[in-house]
Symmetry: C2
Amino acid sequence: MDPRMPETPLFEKVALLGIGLMGGSLGLALRASGLAAEVVGTARRPETRETALRLGLITEAKETPEEAVRDADLTVLAAPLRSYESLLRSALPALKPGSVVTDLGSVKTEPTRICERLLKDSGVSFVGGHPMTGSEASGPEAARADLYEGAVWCLTPTDATDSVALAKIQLLAESVGSRVIALSPEEHDRAVAATSHLPHLAAVALISALDVVAADAPVAAMLTAGGFRDTTRVASGSPPMWRDICLANRDSILKAIGIFREALDAMEAAVRREDGPALEAYLEAARSYREKIVKPEP
Amino acid sequence: MDPRMPETPLFEKVALLGIGLMGGSLGLALRASGLAAEVVGTARRPETRETALRLGLITEAKETPEEAVRDADLTVLAAPLRSYESLLRSALPALKPGSVVTDLGSVKTEPTRICERLLKDSGVSFVGGHPMTGSEASGPEAARADLYEGAVWCLTPTDATDSVALAKIQLLAESVGSRVIALSPEEHDRAVAATSHLPHLAAVALISALDVVAADAPVAAMLTAGGFRDTTRVASGSPPMWRDICLANRDSILKAIGIFREALDAMEAAVRREDGPALEAYLEAARSYREKIVKPEP
């Protein structure tokens, strides 16, 4: 028996609204760890529900959010950011008083406002979360029981957050192997604009620039090695998901782009004036800061 | 016996001017494949020469380029770009007439001009090359016999290039497992500005932007996941090497930065006006172009 396996499950019944990579992997982890007795899932497409059942990501599939959340102690929004409002509106009449709703979304400020507004006076607590894990793969087939192991799982409480609900979600996150960092939704969104959203847009712009160069000189597209592959890997992620992230975190992303542009402009100026010492200083500062903050390659 | 092992070696004696990751790995591969009977190496630092000998990257170490190249059929410049001129000047009196000099540098136009000018009327042929492989690691300890396997090895002949010498270097590259792409030095430099040098500067600017954001909000530095790690991996490369690359390929890099900035500006404008369809179109175009040109992850 897994030493982490609790004698009684943390949640009798968990409802997953969304059973793709993130929701499906959470279902697997909840089941593997014994944290939930029942994991009910829903998804718009019947094939997704069937695949999730077949792969054991959930113990039961329901056709609607309202059916899925009935009697659930925990409801997890594991769907695209812009579906939160409609999912929660559908679920609302069936949400159990005293239960907790959390989410796995990459942007927190505006989505948290939406969820808190909808759940106000419902007797249901909302705790915003963002497990910083995933991959370019998506859908229930990509789910993995260990997706959350070793990840940072941000929790973003507000003044309205119930502390018992927060503690439960923290326990959930830690029980599936993640390390919890608590911060405000606004702090979170400013931070991930720099660590995730800006890198995504930079990767897209790098590919787009190569596309332009290769239009004149097709051989350029043949000269991509490991560096280009890694630098642009994130750009293979789902376009609709990243569109939603960009729209939901607009202000922080615009600020991050501005800061990035200043850094690039400074290096461009150093290249233009052939200033070796300045260039080397920029390169060295980045190398050593990266060494300080990025965990060694797995 | 390796089926690729020739009955008589392609080169009796190869001189490596530089025995770090690139030169040292070539030494290993030449020895493993039987392409060279003798591999003599030189490096400025005695410890590098001793390590290279101890690890079997070379069969003999010499203190100076002039000693190293004596009687060599092939001389390989495997040192930083800006050392080419002084290395070749030192080696020049001892270079064997009829022998070939090649290099492994990341920039070709200006370095090729320097080498061709120095070797003019010497009876020694120059063939510019750039094997697109490597890693953030450096030095002889990082050398690997399989570094060149599966890599694209650019050869950049000019009007002055001897066709027999070119054929020999092509055979060398293919014998260590690389695929040769021949193009002009100028085409090469325009292409790698987009596929390698620009991505490097973008990665440095991403790290620098995070450094600025984290100065106000230190938690940001804790929120880097796999995406940030991969997108910025190349920025752990050697600062002096990348300084030299930026200076040597100045004009193509400045053009590539301009094209990149246009792509980023267009996405920024779409985020600013909250234009979901335009954003999704940029993201989708990049995703599908990347799929077309980048080999699947290893």
